[in-house]
């Protein structure tokens, strides 16, 4: 399950300028390969759309690992590659108090606990936007909202022109009727209730409305003049919106998840403080949140430290590098690492705020391997313990049956396991026994349940093969599943064997013959019903009678033509205790009822056989 998230294109010319070289496609692909990102698309040779008479510039579309939020924008990918290439060192982020020494404050009200309890903020002072930077800034917020913030449910970001508002600020939760402002890009003031209606049809915003809609209170941020900044996670106010000319940006972040709250803050300030007049400085904000003990100064840009064992890293990478060399490798992956002065095996690794993906020294070890080059690692095959292979008993048994069916002229098919309820029940003239596992969220009506019979798939396969000459003989040995309350998973798989003979005559005797063939190969003796029900006492005598016995009895079932269906019974031979098993019904065969054929749109007659396999284990 390697999840990659697709990246919007970055301007190719600008990007190559940022990483200091005009790469050829192959060179750039190799660089991406080594670093663990992927060049998905290069539009330089495509026909690109023309906007205002100019063809839009060529773009590179790059895929990144789903846990690397520090590469969701142009700035982040360029920085990581520059550090990897040794063209720059990882910047050090620092806090810078405002010139007047008065820190901005946000007071969090207790009512917010009811809807969205956590708040964080930051200020980017004297930032210089260009069209490209501004678009990247907006796009990064959008990406964070989609990915990490799970469609704004966990975290929402608002950005404001600080020069249009005046602290101190408050983060509150109020009844929607009491919240009133002109939302972003609107001139009309409305209250929150009206906004919920107004945005119902909005393609972009409507999907976020349910996050707060039914709450008695909605989250809202005010400045000291009661001017609304935003109503997270839905919309900012028009009043404080940022433009290309904005120089001081106030960022509000609200969340239901404390960890991701600070993570989002870190990513935004790390990516865009570069454009402040004093690069990589961030102005902190004081959060006053006494009721839930979340008062603090944010963001905290101090790198985390994590000790890592050189022995551990070397042992997994198959290296014997001294600590200094490991530290040098880590430098290319944005870490600052030094050999510990107190412990001979330890590296003191300082992890920048951009690298929230590092959870364990295993992550540091992997980055050493990447910096060293996966394909440069000593690739010896370590002699592992020797083993004897073993085949799963049910697989072995299934193969015996598959082989017999194939040798009898039947063709193996592999239909889907998911099907519709009708196909599984009504189309076979079977009542719904409520034993089927039902899916909660299928995308199509084709997939409603897990099949409880192999027949629907086989019959659908015949339906799709009308051009194939008849007779058609198909079979499948595979699992069905049914509910079972006694188990942890409340369900169990059952291995079945099913076959269909389809042609100008019914083929009833053919499937009967196939049954006999398979039973014979499994050493089952055909007996009459009376012989089957007769008890055989003692191991010796049971052995004389041939162990496993099977017989068939006529049954009337709506799936089959009246008088032309049989239930298959089996009685297992005596085990070690000298006792025979009791008779069990293991399956059915018969001529399909014409109405069943009609449901599956089959113009010719057919006979089917379906049988439990696990009983033979």
């Amino acid at each position: 399950m390697p999840t990659m998230c697709s990246h919007d294109g970055v301007n190719k010319a600008a990007f190559f300028k940022a990483i200091g070289k005009e790469y050829t496609k192959e060179e750039f692909e190799d660089l991406c390969f080594d670093f663990g990102i992927e060049l998905d698309e290069d539009t330089s040779e495509d026909k690109r759309p023309v906007v205002d008479g100019v063809e839009v510039p060529a773009e590179l579309k790059i895929e990144i690992g789903a846990n690397r939020y520090d590469m969701l924008c142009f700035e982040g990918i360029a920085m990581n590659l520059n550090v990897f290439l040794g063209r720059q060192t990882m910047p050090t982020y620092s806090l810078k108090m405002p010139a007047d020494g008065k820190i901005q404050t946000v007071t969090v009200k207790k009512e917010t606990e009811q809807i969205r309890p956590y708040f964080s903020a930051a200020i980017l002072r004297n930032i210089k936007f260009t069209k490209e930077r501004y678009e990247s800034f907006i796009a990064l917020q959008d990406k964070l909202h989609q990915n990490l913030a799970r469609q704004r449910t966990l975290v929402a970001i608002g950005t404001h022109d600080l020069d249009t508002i005046k602290g101190p600020f408050t983060y509150e939760a109020l009844p929607p009727s009491q919240i009133s402002f002109a939302p972003l890009n609107q001139t009309k003031t409305m209250n929150a209730e009206e906004m919920m209606t107004f945005y119902e049809k909005d393609k972009h915003l409507s999907r976020y409305l349910p996050i707060i809609r039914d709450s008695p209170v909605y989250p809202v941020i005010y400045d000291s003049n009661r001017t609304v900044l935003s109503m997270p996670p839905i919309i900012n106010s028009n009043h404080s919106k940022i433009t290309l000319d904005t120089t001081n940006v106030f960022i509000d972040i609200t969340a239901t998840d404390k960890t991701k709250l600070e993570l989002v803050n870190h990513i935004i300030v790390a990516m865009f403080s570069e454009y402040c007049s004093e690069p990589f400085t961030i102005e902190p904000v004081e959060i006053i949140s006494e009721h839930n003990s979340q008062s603090r100064r944010v963001p905290d840009v101090t790198p985390r430290t994590m000790p890592a064992s050189a022995k551990y890293i070397n042992s997994i990478c198959g290296l014997s590098a001294p600590r200094e060399e490991l530290c040098n490798l880590l430098k290319r992956m944005c870490f600052t690492a030094t050999p510990s002065p107190t412990s001979p095996d330890t590296l003191d690794v300082s992890i920048p705020i951009t690298r929230a993906d590092v959870l364990h020294q295993a992550d540091i070890m992997e980055d050493v391997a990447i910096a060293y080059g996966f394909n440069n690692l000593p690739r010896q095959l370590i002699a592992t313990t020797s083993f004897v292979a073993a085949q799963l008993p049910i697989a072995k048994l299934s193969d015996i049956i598959r082989d017999e069916a194939r040798a009898s002229g039947f063709v193996e098919v592999m239909p889907l396991i998911l099907c519709s309820r009708d196909e599984n029940y009504a189309w076979l003239n079977r009542p719904d026994d409520h034993r089927a596992i039902t899916l909660q969220n299928p995308k199509t009506a084709e997939y409603q349940i897990v099949r409880t019979s192999l027949l629907p798939g086989l019959l659908k396969t015949l339906r799709e093969n009308k051009r194939h000459p008849v007779p058609m003989k198909v079979f499948e040995v595979s699992d069905i599943a049914v509910k079972d309350e006694s188990l942890e998973r409340k369900s169990r798989n059952l291995r079945r064997f099913a076959a269909v003979w389809y042609g100008k005559s019914s083929g009833f005797e053919m499937v009967h013959g196939l049954l006999d063939r398979v039973m014979g190969m499994l050493r089952g003796a055909f007996v009459t019903r009376e012989e089957g029900l007769e008890d055989i006492k003692g191991v010796e005598e049971a052995g004389k009678k041939g162990g496993m016995r099977y017989w068939i009895e006529a049954v009337e079932e709506p799936t089959f033509l009246p008088g032309h269906a049989a239930a298959i019974f089996l009685r297992l031979g005596a085990g070690g205790d000298g006792k025979e098993g009791s008779p069990v019904r293991i399956g059915t065969f018969g001529i399909l009822h014409p109405t069943v054929l009609k449901h599956f749109q089959l113009p010719f007659p057919a006979s089917t056989l379906e049988l439990d396999v696990e009983v033979f284990l």
Partner: protein, 540 residues
Amino acid sequence: MPGTRGPVPVPVQNGDRDLTLQILEAVDENASVKTSETFPNASQTEVKAALDRLASRQMIEYETDDSEEVVLTGEGQQIVDEGSHEFKVWDAVRKAGRMSLKDQALATPSAKVGQGNAFKLKWIKKDGDSLIPLTDSVTDTTREVLQYVAEHRALQNPRDLKDLRKRTLVTTQKIITYDARKGPRWARDIPVEVTDLTADMLADGSWKTANFKPYNFKALGEQSQGVGALHPLNKVREEFRKIFFNLGFTEMPTGRFVDTGFWNFDALFVPQQHPARDMQDTFYVSDPPEAGPPGPDPEADAALNAMEEEDRDEEDSDPPTRPTQQPTKHLDYAQYYANVRATHQDGAFGSIGYRYPYNDAEPRRLVLRTHTTAVSTYCLHRLAANPRPAKYFSIDRVFRNETVDATHLAEFHQVEGVIADYGLTLGGLQGFLRRFFKKMGLVGLKFKPAYNPYTEPSMEVFAYHRGLGKLVEIGNSGMFRPEMLLAMGLPEDLRVYGFGLSLERPTMIKYGVNNIRELLGHKVDLGFIEGNAAVRLDKA
């Protein structure tokens, strides 16, 4: 063709009897027979069939001679019979002495053509509104040329062909003629033949003198009806299983389509907010509504125990072929659950964890397993009872709530292997994968760093594809995260490789199938299954 290979002597077919016999007679009397001359009225196909019948028995030999002949069209034949159009116009004018241009005799299309030609040849000329002859005698060259064609089926001067063809007076046709003579087994009469050796012939000894009808070595053999076949995906699966067995792997019991959020995600250190757990990607089960708490699966344990006991023999003095079984510790599932919960929410085992409030409802949600790794996780946790090296594999169906297209189905098969052992290295995994994929004919492996929530490091495996001329991704691999393994209670130095690929992708590449729906599911063509070649993964 059914019915042509009985024991009955084959009579020469009635319709051709005469021609075959006639050919034999002609060849008997002449050293060489040109069929077009000897049998001018017989059709070419009849002649060929009769000759082949005799030649296949080596009674005669023949060569084929292709040539082209010129023949008259209807109009051309008319000119031969009556004279050319210009001759007819000149003749009429001469006979009349003077002929009005409006005369009916000059109104036909052929007369118009003839009039023009007669002008050019200076046979007639216009005098006022009438025509008068310029000469008393003419040579009708066109008629002479065509008369030659009528007699010789060729032109005296081949350069005339283009012009005459354009005037639609002649056309050409291909002539095949055969030059036949006696063959090495010449005979005056066709002997009685039998098509096959029979039991009766063996019994009465008639096989000694029987004259066997020659076998047609240029045709396919009997194309049997109703031959059984195995599905190509299962054939490829079988090859993979053999590779795993060769490498000493034990097959995992994957007989459960439904699994729990715990085994499918949480135990694998997949955070509860991970996009893979979205309704968009995973099938959730609505009925039954909720799973039980994590615990042992007696059926899976029984299957694993049976396989592991298989090669243990108390009386065997040879060293055990499996690592010695130690007394088994009790597996504490409540502790395991608590460990998993802690690694997610608070961090544990040297990990800071994801630090989010763990929701105890998520692990109880039932899902259609999105990967067989859910089963691998169960098997690895089972190892904690008696930590030891192990090699497991499985190939089975998995489910994703995908929008169906040419390369995506809601179901596919995952091929997965895990190796647990002490002192495993990343380079060792690369070495193993090189060996594994070499058995499938894939060489030149390259490894790319990747992200996967439950492996660290994670490597995508690429191989050079000769057809596409580039590296293509062939699988995923990695070493399971300590958060996952230590929570199970496995010792720190027991490391575990995991690797996987889909069964469909290599099969599609191997057989040039572009649409996965033509491979898996009910839309597959039965003819494709029947005609599918044997699978030899190591052969390119």
